[in-house]
């Protein structure tokens, strides 16, 4: 079971308190009317599916209920960090340096 740090509650809690919510930093198209079929496909369906560090969303569904973002290594399942929704992507090189 994963232990997940909620950046709002500032507590590390067991996975059943949380819901996974897919890849992070996928922006809704600013002007949906102007999108081509290829751009819609990419927005709706194409995912990075990274093997290694992955930017993803979680929701503290059985707690504060807020969405936040995380960087997690999908090979070890270890979280590198979690951060509040709306914050910029953390610098991956620094995070990996911090793990050593």
């Amino acid at each position: 079971m994963l232990l997940i740090h909620c950046p709002y509650c500032d507590e590390t809690l067991p996975e059943p308190e949380f819901a996974y919510a897919g890849e992070a930093h996928i922006d809704r198209p600013a002007d949906p009317q102007q999108l081509s079929d290829e751009e819609w496909r990419d927005f709706l369906f194409i995912r990075t599916n990274a093997k290694g560090p992955h930017y993803e969303r979680w929701r503290h569904i059985n707690g504060c209920a807020r969405f936040f973002n995380a960087v997690r290594d999908t090979v070890s399942d270890k979280f590198l960090t979690t951060y509040k929704a709306g914050e910029a992507r953390p610098d991956l090189a620094k995070l990996l340096e911090g793990q050593k």
């Binding site: 079971m1 994963l2 996975e15 059943p16 819901a19 996974y20 897919g22 890849e23 079929d37 290829e38 819609w40 496909r41 990419d42 709706l44 369906f45 194409i46 995912r47 990075t48 599916n49 990274a50 093997k51 992955h54 993803e56 997690r72 999908t74 090979v75 070890s76 399942d77």
Partner: protein
């Protein structure tokens, strides 16, 4: 390779089974091949077999980063059925069931296909309506499926509790009698043995590091841990790692990889005569010929390549199992494991050409690829050999995510997702 028959079996029985020899060759890779298949699971080995058998293409290599059949082929719960809702799915999965029915004879290898019936339980009004819709749709497509009352379900599977006070009361069930199970390892071994005998090179411990493309774009070969290997055509059949491999050719995929867990109990005498699935409560169960109860759980919620999952997923499944089959409440579980399944947005596979010339992909089987092994391999070999899909897999394209012509088993599947 020596055939298995009554005469050779009797002779080897008298000689202590010392004369069988290796069942497939383990050659070093050649400089180049007509076709390279990446991934030596059932689907990949089967593709190589049908390329050689039905299309006369024997200059083929199957590259495997680990060992043959060590991925999801060896990790699934071996359930076989074809009671899918949509026409395209029924066509593809029933093609596979028909091939399963003669596969042991065809491969001269006992894949232990047992049509003991797959029963899917309905626990609420929605389940009942959905199951009956499936039954009608299946029958229109020539796929057998029938409705059982709770008592008929109990007669078919005596360990099942149909108590009205159960937490998940059984309101009926859909039964596909042609469904069943097979020995998963034997499928990989059987395909490997015949493919190898026809000249296919199976190269294990050979990881693909990159995919080579000519300046004009077409695939020309692969770089591996055993050096470069040229190829006129490359087929990616790599389940959970498909995104990683396709990225090497510059193709981004509509896939996400999740852990799917399963477990087996200690072996006991025959107690469970069929396969029972309960989608609403996420529990699949059958009994292997060794006597273990084979139990399938749901996927973990998060993307992962770790081949392990969280304990609470297994606990949830076992909660349901002992509620449905109270007699198993004291049973000890022997092993649990996980496999990484590649899931598409519409929960249907992709068996198709790609935007890159001479590159083909067979992926997206999600939580239910084992049942499709021979059918998938058969039509994928056709797609590679003719450079166009068979009519059975014509709808399972990558293009459908652009055109919107999805095969949306996600919303209406016979299976839990």
């Amino acid at each position: 390779m020596r055939n298995f028959n009554a005469f050779t079996l009797a002779r080897e029985a008298l000689r202590g089974h010392k004369g069988w020899g290796k069942q497939w060759r383990s050659p070093e890779p050649k400089k180049s091949y007509d076709v390279i298949i990446i991934g030596a699971g059932g689907h990949g080995l089967g593709t190589a077999y049908y390329l050689a058998k039905e299309h006369g293409i024997t200059n083929v290599a199957v590259l495997e980063k680990g060992w043959l059949g060590g991925g999801n082929t060896g990790r699934n719960t071996t359930i076989i059925r074809s009671n899918y809702l949509y026409d395209e799915s029924a066509g593809l999965y029933d093609h596979s069931v028909k091939l399963w029915e003669t596969l042991s004879e065809e491969l001269n290898y006992n894949v232990m296909f047992s049509q003991r019936g797959v029963m899917m339980l309905a626990h609420n009004v929605h389940d009942v309506q959905s199951a009956q819709r499936h039954i009608h749709a299946n029958r229109l497509n020539g796929v057998d499926n029938e409705w059982l009352t709770p008592q008929q379900a109990k007669d078919y599977c005596p360990p099942l509790s149909i108590s009205k006070s159960a937490r998940y009361p059984v309101m009926g069930a859909a039964l596909q009698r042609r469904g069943g199970v097979a020995r998963h390892d034997a499928v990989a071994w059987g395909f490997a043995r015949q493919a190898s005998a026809m000249g296919v090179d199976i190269i294990q411990n050979c990881e693909v590091i990159s995919i080579d493309r000519a300046p004009s774009g077409e695939v020309t070969g692969v770089q591996t841990t055993k050096g470069p290997i040229g190829a006129k055509k490359v087929g990616v059949v790599a389940a959970g790692h498909t995104s990683v491999l396709m990225e090497m050719a510059g193709v981004r995929m509509p896939l996400e990889s999740y852990p799917l867990q399963a477990l087996v109990s200690e072996p006991v005498k025959p107690v469970f005569p069929c396969v029972v699935m309960s989608n609403a409560v996420h529990a699949y169960i059958s009994q292997s010929d060794k006597g273990e109860l084979v139990i399938g759980a749901g996927t973990d919620s998060y993307l992962s390549y770790s081949q392990t999952g969280s304990m609470h997923i297994l606990q949830h499944t076992l909660d349901a199992i002992i509620e449905l089959y109270p007699m198993f409440s004291r049973m000890k579980m022997l092993r649990t494991w996980g496999g990484i399944v590649d899931v598409t947005p519409d929960r249907s596979p992709i068996l198709a050409k790609t935007p890159v010339p001479n590159l083909y992909v067979n992926c997206g089987w999600g939580t239910g690829g084992f049942k499709a092994t021979p059918g998938s391999a058969n039509v994928f070999a056709h797609t590679i050999a003719r450079d166009e899909p068979h009519k059975i897999n014509a709808g399972f394209t990558l293009e459908r995510f652009r055109t919107g012509r999805l095969i949306d088993e996600a919303a209406a599947a016979a299976v839990a997702h």
